[in-house]
Amino acid sequence: MTLLPEYPQARGCPFQPASGYADYAPVSKVRLYNGREVWAVTGHAEARQVLLDPATYSSDRVHPHYPALAPRFESARKVRNFIGMDPPEHTVQRRMLLSSFTVKKTNALRPRIQTLVDGLIDEIEAKGPVADLVPDFALPVPSIVICELLGVPYTDHAFFEHQSRRVVTGSTTLEDSADAFAQLKAYLDDLIQRKRREPGDGLLDTLIAEQVETGALTRAELVDIALLLLVAGHETTASAIALGVVTLLEHPGQLAALRSDPRLLPTAVEELLRYMAIADGIARFATVDADLAGHRVRAGDGIVIVIATANRDGEAFPSPAAFAVDRGARHHVSFGHGVHQCIGQNLARAEMEIALGTLFRRLPGLRLARDLADLPIKEAGGVQGVWELPVTW
């Protein structure tokens, strides 16, 4: 028997999808760290087909058939919130949050995000070059925004940023992620208890008043939802901002085009999302036998959607390897597809637009202060990006 390719594989560099699956498109078998064989879906149409069909392809993370793409996924089985549920259970929880994530609501946050971004750039300028844009810029923007939205005190940010990293990093061990989850849960449970006594005006306060006090959610359920929003809300977007800076700097022609016409900012952000595929790898398992691109998928089989590769499927995107700020294509699967498509996507777009647009406007001489090849890149199987981003201007 020939050895199957492994999943995940490290990216050669943070922009290039791992190359090991290209010969097997659009669907093939791969081997996970624990030896389990699952289907890797690398075609764009096939990825959408799976993500659009939650009855056949389940997101139930507690279920033993749900594939653990890395050791930390085993700990995630103990956290139960809507990202790991199927409809109709999923729909009930997601709808409790929708009113806070509409296009109108996220657009209303733009002036606040702008003030925040300007303040951080003031500090970077005052300190003078060199600055590390990860801790000084990319991380605080989404971290402060999600804290204010939820009503979590930002003064605790060092704690939950550290714990979140242990949850979303590819190389995190089982023990480490279990401990990080436990600490985050204890923190949020304590915060929710305090908020019940002294309500504030964040989304958590609204959920306590409308869902917990009415009995629609238990406190434990709210803790798991809060955990999802807090973790999903900052590490992904932080990675997208930092890697977005690198991508633009490495494509000077595209950066110049964007500078000469700032109206391109929304399409540039969309293209960055497609090209970078920050959250690479969404898992599902088949609940029944099914046909997928001519393969017979059996009930219980695990599936992984390889987002970076699906985003570079030539059938869906002409010249898929080219980075083009005016491409104007929004059908990439960087936010997923189907009922679980990212609830925070419009917040992420607003943060990326304002952060990247303002940074390149205010620091026109921005450039890397270290060779590209020496930037430490994040491990395979987690949120993709760079750990450090020293720049000068």
């Binding site: 929708l98 994530f101 509409t102 059908h331 597809h337």
Partner: protein
Amino acid sequence: MRISADQGRCLGAGQCVLSAPDRFDQSELGLVEVLDPEVPEGDEKRFRDILDLCPSQALSLEA
């Protein structure tokens, strides 16, 4: 052709509002609202592409 929206399927991703803010809005609950359902002749392709972006298949075109 007319656009028809199924609020029962909508999960509030807002793709439709981003694509055509003059045609779509979201209610207080975050669910899709069609502001103007008429699709002018010749614009069917554009609207099919917009509908294709909806992640929960809540939108359709009807004769």
